[in-house]
Amino acid sequence: MVTFTLNGAQRTFDGDPDTPLLWVIRDFEKLTGTKYGCGVAQCGACTVHLDGMPRRSCITPIAMIDGSDVVTIEGISGKEAEAVQAAWKGLDVPQCGYCQSGQIMSAVALLQILPKPTDDEIDGAMAGNLCRCATYHRIRAAIHNAAKSMEG
């Protein structure tokens, strides 16, 4: 039995301990904002926050997260999350939208650590999140906009 918190609520899981966190979140907790894209931590569509840090949930066995705190796109809050989501809407960043939960989770984590990231720092934090629609140009601009909006 694994016990963890998911978006602030205590949850337990007593299925196969090898089950990746991604499939626990989706199939068992029915939170579908976190996406499957590759299953091998190459695309970032499954990014969640694990104890405050971005984490690829598709390669994180549920047994590893006993006692941890998991936050998904459905549960993010705070000024960084608000600034990022507002900036995303301001530039109409998403195209197909499938990767964007993961993009936003990575961007929020970046701004929590570096409130005013440089282009290189954005590259470093976001290079693990693929977008086949290639919305990168707007993601970069939206992160800068979000950083700017948090200054005041």
Binding site: W23, K35, Q42, Y98
Partner: protein
């Protein structure tokens, strides 16, 4: 794309006008709140026609006959309706229409379908008429209720007004009465100079749900009791199951059943991970007797062999052979080899099946041709077509992958559903490995080019031989193999373009911009090379070969101006240019590159000019250019699907089928040419120019022409 060839009938413009279609906007388990995309307001929505519904809360819901997978039809089609309806943008909503090959036909295809960058182009007048019709019906209802002449009623930003009596109302109050009015046969459309919404950067209707995680894709549909199924596929094209042992797989916790299906071995489980683990535990022996067992290298040898054989003639003017023999010309000969490419949309293929109490079945999937999916599924499930409802869902990309004749994906998904029977809902999903190794690639092509240019920059001869699979499975000339080459934009007196159709067990498919993915590259790198032989500037030299008043010339001059083409680039950098017309839209791009630390091209900046006629939503057009550049650049730099020794597919996931990433995306500037021409598409036309623009810059920078793609395959070899 000659998808237009399917049934080139032009159907009645508003086939469904006035027809009340009794469809639920969203299924039971998808409440409006959970989709994240406002799916109409509360209360009963009244249909003004097949495309427009009005709710008691004044919301206007547009039923999009085109699938939304990022290219923007929800917003675009709703804009066209709202313009003529004189609605306020805040009251507009969009959902996918039901499946109906007549009512929701793509007017370019004659059946329901999304592709060929045709959504706005084919629906431009139809959706405006749908809006104008609804407006006239609302006005007629208000005139009747207020007992005033309809001609005295005005509509502005969603408010119906009668100045004389001071009466005013929203749409909702008249929705019921309006729905019962007779639809005008030929409503008057606005003069484009009176547009208030078309041409403005209205915010997209689907952004909210795609920013807070609430947008629902097929993979997110999870009805009670759902079974999840995956199929073990072969690693060779054309292989079939000889025998399998499912003993260990059946022991995996959560695995419910295992069945042989035509496409492989299906594993059914109570959850996704159990299905995947069960699949991994299968032991399968494959029959390779009819499989492709040649490697990519062996295939290349086979392709190149065709250069010396007579081909299918696409264009033949003048006398190329004779012209090439003339003295005093600069001649260039080139062979370019293009690899197979997977589309790799972020959401791999998937579908959900739910049986209703009456035995009919609802299918939820990202269908580009929902009518084909319906026909195929009905046949496999042994149901009448009307007992199979295809409910189109938001799709996590496609790039052509979900547009297939005969719906081979649906054949697999429906076969998996049919094989287990029973009443449990079922989700069939492909993993990324299934996607990368699943075929339906942009075919491999080999081009042979021969050209000659005189000292004035006049290209006197051009021969192009194109070898590859026919996407349309034709025995004779397939226009998708030669489009962009057979109709070369440059004035050349002696021009010959031929093709050879190759047959392989590897299924081919169109890939974002179809033939232009390779012809655009071959043509634009070759013309650049010819011009450079006589010292002509790439921009000026091209302009000399086309009409100055052409739209080609317009975008080329604009992109050059944006890039300040005449000025020298920063030290260590070079610029390349390319211009390609595809799907009726014209796009020119200038790429500025350097040699990156890994020895590969580093693309710093791209200037892009597009002429797509009337720009319905400039912001979406710019986004499609940015995305097209990124998609095309990733493929040209990194991507190939290759067959190793014995024919086994080499790549399996994003680690070896590379995508462009954040740190590799150039800065992009886009300008749209002002135009009164009918709108044409933007989903695909941003893709073709980026490859040749980068390759031309690379040749300028390093002296090495790019003769094989992806570019990294040449640099690392």
């Amino acid at each position: 794309m000659t998808i237009h060839d399917i049934t080139p009938t032009r159907r009645a413009f508003l086939a469904g006008a006035g027809l009340v279609i009794g469809v639920a906007i969203a299924p039971r388990f998808l409440s409006a709140a959970s989709t994240g995309i406002p799916a109409g307001g509360s209360g009963e929505l009244k249909a003004m026609n097949a495309f427009v519904k009005i709710g008691p809360d004044d919301t206007v819901t547009v039923l999009s006959k085109h699938i939304e997978f990022g290219q923007g039809p929800f917003t675009g089609l709703a804009t066209l309706v709202a313009e003529e309806l004189d609605a306020d943008w805040s009251q507009m909503r969009a959902v996918h229409s039901p499946t109906d090959n007549k009512v929701y036909a793509n007017l370019s295809f004659g059946l329901q379908g999304t592709g060929g960058s045709s959504s706005i182009a084919n629906a431009y007048e139809q959706m405006r008429k749908a809006g104008a019709t609804a407006r006239a019906m609302l006005v007629a209802a208000a005139a009747e209720e207020w007992n005033v002449p309809a001609a005295e009623i005005t509509v502005e930003k969603g408010r119906i007004k009668h100045a004389g009596s001071g009466k005013e109302s929203g749409f909702g109050a008249f929705a019921d009465k309006a729905a019962r009015q007779v639809a005008p046969a030929d409503p008057k459309l606005k003069d484009p100079k009176d547009f208030v919404l078309i041409g403005t950067e209205l915010p997209k209707l689907d952004t909210q749900g795609k920013t807070d995680g609430t947008a629902v894709f097929t993979l997110d549909i999870m009805p009670e009791g759902l079974l999840t199924a995956v199929v073990a596929h072969p690693k060779h094209f054309g292989a079939i199951v000889k025998s399998f042992d499912d003993g260990n797989a059946r022991k995996v916790r959560g695995v419910v059943d295992i069945k042989l299906v035509p496409q492989g071995v299906a594993v059914y489980a109570d959850n996704t991970f159990s299905a995947l683990k069960g699949r991994d535990a299968l032991t399968i022996e494959w029959d390779l007797s009819k499989a492709e067992t040649r490697s990519s290298e062996e295939l290349t040898v086979e392709y190149v062999r065709h250069f010396d054989e007579p081909g299918l003639e696409a264009t033949n003017t003048g006398n190329v052979d004779e012209a090439l023999r003339q003295q005093g010309l600069q001649t260039v000969e080139a062979q370019i080899v293009f690899p197979f490419l997977a589309h790799a949309p972020m959401e791999p293929l998937d579908a959900v099946f739910i049986k209703a109490a009456d035995g009919s079945v609802d299918i939820y999937n990202g269908a580009q041709f929902p009518g084909f999916d319906q026909q195929v599924a009905a046949k496999i499930l042994a149901l009448d077509e009307e007992k199979v409802r295809v409910n189109t869902q938001l799709a996590g990309g496609s790039f052509g992958r979900k547009a297939q004749f005969g719906s081979p994906y649906m054949q697999e998904a429906a076969s998996v559903y049919a094989a287990i029977g029973g009443d449990r809902p079922l989700k069939h999903m492909w993993t990324r490995e299934d996607d990368i190794q699943g075929g339906f690639y942009r075919p491999m092509y080999a081009h042979k080019m021969r050209g000659a240019i005189d000292a004035t920059g006049q290209i006197v001869a051009w021969e192009q031989i194109i070898v590859g699979q026919s996407i349309m499975a034709k025995a004779d000339l397939d226009s998708t193999s030669v489009e962009g080459a057979s109709n070369l934009p440059y004035k050349i007196p002696n021009l010959k373009v031929t093709s050879h159709n190759i047959t392989l067990p590897i299924p081919p498919l169109w890939w974002r911009s179809v033939g232009h993915t390779h012809t655009g590259f071959a043509v634009e790198t070759f013309v650049d090379e010819l011009l450079s032989r006589v010292g002509r500037d790439p921009v000026e030299g091209r302009l000399a070969l086309i009409d100055a008043s052409s739209r080609h010339a317009g975008v080329l001059r604009k992109a050059a101006e944006m890039a300040d083409w005449g000025a020298a680039p920063p030290a260590g950098r070079a610029r390349g240019v390319a211009v390609v017309e595809s799907f009726g839209s014209f796009v020119a791009q200038v790429a500025e590159i350097s040699v990156g630390s890994d020895g590969a091209p580093r693309v710093h900046k791209v200037w892009c000019a597009v002429d797509c006629g009337v720009a319905v939503n400039p912001n979406i057009i710019k986004a499609q250019m940015e995305g097209g550049i990124g998609y095309g650049l990733g493929a040209v730099l990194f991507d190939a699907i290759t067959l190793g020794k014995g024919g086994k597919i080499t790549q399996s996931n994003f680690h070896d089928y590379r995508s462009i990433r954040m740190n590799e995306m150039p800065d992009v500037a886009v300008e749209i040419i002002k135009s009164a021409e009918k709108p044409t598409g933007v989903g695909e036309p941003g893709v073709p120019p980026i490859g040749p623009a980068v390759a031309n810059a690379w040749r300028k920078l390093t002296g090495a022409p790019v003769r094989q793609l992806p570019i990294v395959s040449v640099i690392s070899s």
